[in-house]
């Protein structure tokens, strides 16, 4: 099905939102996101895999084809990477017209500790042949997209695939992968949007030509018309998010805060380098104040920031804006594209500040 645009939130989009989910923003408080709170975006169905009958096939332009069991994979040197992962479509539902797809607002993110083996070790064990230029990753999940049935598949150029932080992970936060996160094995590409980190991995194929599959040549490309080839989505643009302060309303989830000193806390991240600036606005005419940003403790995980706000009675729209070490800055307004990718515009949090005695009398 070609990507199309539609101004109203449809039952089809709602069906996606009912099964996939973001990270509730109060979970920004955790350095590592607890099980079940990390965002999920699953194109097809979650496969149920019996690890005893599963193997990882490594084939294509290699000298030693491999069929690795989980035992084989765990016998190789193990590494753990703390990684903030984000969906390339995070923010999509803020575009107008809204591209059809999972209708994310701000929360398609999470941070986990992934344990497994470096991809480059497996590639070296297989022995790359001359002309090897890409590595294709095939998941066990299948569906009909763009008019034909396919497994979920994505490739990486050899230079990206060979980076030491790219891992084949069997564990998340010290536990075997949950079914919905790719059990028994998935790719993890730190710093890149989540579409690259193929789940339910069962085949790695070394290619001598560029992969032209649907998820590579059609989806996850930045373009404004169907006819354009577009630029591929890769690394994560900078984003900051705050823990919405105070207490929420239900069902509107707008915020209520008592007047006085309020510490606004959040996280910020970029796939291009560390965050070196987060600014906060309390909606008083567009002025921005520098927040305190903690230094990066892990190369590919989010950083903490906070700002003390002296909140007076009134109505506010709070925002934060991150800048990374390469100078990339979050835009204030979403930038439209056909697929609804890379929408890293600043978050807006509507807050009503009341004095405590009035609040308790509400």
């Amino acid at each position: 099905m070609p990507i199309s645009v539609d101004p109203g939130i449809s039952k089809m989009e709602l069906a996606l939102a009912a099964r996939n989910h973001g990270m509730p923003l109060e979970a920004l408080t955790y350095d590592v996101t607890p099980a079940g709170l990390h965002y999920l975006l699953i194109h097809y169905d979650i496969p149920q895999v019996a690890v005893g009958s599963w193997t990882l096939t490594v084939d294509g332009a290699i000298s030693r084809p491999l069929a690795l069991t989980m035992e084989d994979i765990k016998s190789l040197p193990q590494v753990t990477e703390r990684v903030t992962m984000e969906c390339a479509g995070n923010g999509r539902a803020r575009l107008d017209p809204r591209p059809i797809g999972q209708p994310w607002l701000d929360e398609a993110v999470g941070t986990a500790e992934w344990t497994g083996v470096r991809l480059v070790e497996v590639l070296m064990a297989a022995g790359l042949e001359d002309g090897a230029i890409e590595v294709l990753f095939s998941g066990m999940d299948r569906g009909v997209e763009g008019g034909y049935e396919q497994p979920y598949e994505r490739s990486l150029a050899m230079g990206d695939a060979s980076r030491p932080e790219v891992i084949l992970a069997h564990s998340m936060n010290g536990q075997p992968l949950l079914p919905q996160h790719g059990f028994p094995l998935r790719l993890i590409v730190p710093g890149w949007y989540g579409m690259t980190s193929v789940k339910w991995l069962h085949r790695i194929t070394v290619l001598t030509e560029a992969f032209q599959g649907y998820q590579q040549s059609h989806s996850y490309r930045i373009r404004t018309q169907e006819e354009e080839p577009g630029e591929p989505v890769s690394r994560i643009l900078p984003r900051s998010l705050m823990i919405p302060p105070g207490v929420p309303g239900y069902p509107d989830r707008e915020r209520f805060v008592s007047a006085g000193e309020v510490t606004i806390r959040g996280r910020a991240w970029s796939g291009f380098g560390p965050i070196n600036r987060v600014e906060v606005s309390v909606g008083d005419g567009g002025s921005w104040i520098d927040a305190n940003v903690e230094p990066a403790t892990h190369h590919y995980a989010w950083q903490s920031w906070h700002h003390i706000w002296n909140a007076a009675v009134g109505s506010y729209v709070l925002s934060s804006r991150a800048t990374d070490a390469t100078g990339l800055v979050q835009p204030l307004d979403p930038v439209w594209n056909l697929g609804g990718y890379l929408v890293n515009a600043t978050q807006s949090v509507t807050v009503t500040v009341t004095d405590r005695s009035a609040a308790s009398a509400r």
Copy 2:
């Protein structure tokens, strides 16, 4: 805020759907739902609780006020119950006009094994005084609803609170509760919709008058106009769901199946008693065929069913319909009410059956 009706899916409803989530229907394959796949409906924010400084207060019309630590609770006799839990609002988004609230389609369900202490043991330890008629459960989650700030609170009549299957649970599937499921302690009322099973429990108060709080006297009542007092929601009406067969499309998630024998599998449950009949329709003029229903293995958990369908090339709408031991049957069409509760109408799954050679040529 009063409940109102609105025909279009709003950004407010989308914001609820982005943080809460249903159980992806392929997870019906698991007897016990894996972590992170069980449905979640959270009115306010997920509290972050340090169990070391947490106690459960038991007060009100009792002779021995208690302040129980987690150690105290774990020193009492422990029980485990396998329970299918469902949101009272499951199916809400299928109503027209659609009540404002979490816009569930079919999947607000999950089954877990909950471990803890029987509530009745704690009540006996506290010693009920004369005139005790209800038990109030207060969570640590707070928000503004119906115009005032409140903790999430619900009560049970003493007869319901004293049932042996009602437990104070500290573990889910053998692990400490995840933050989003009520860590460190929650109520579990098997057979009832989820609104009763208060999470992040920190106070139990025995009452001599009926509780009149918002979640009891306003929300979770069946009525067609604001002015009616309405009947309270309690036990789960029968529902059956099937694992959508074949492979999904994306983003539409309609199903593609190869012609031939297809085993349709699903689960069915009721809070009123065991399921003794599930019928399946393949949309051929409303005829219903009995599926094979497995006997209940746990009093409060779903039962498996399956039906072998000889699928010929064509387009179909598959449905299933459960009947419980008390004679309650799922309706074919949703029954409207202002809050969008108890919508247990039959599921519809749209399927295209192709012959395999045509499918691979798509």
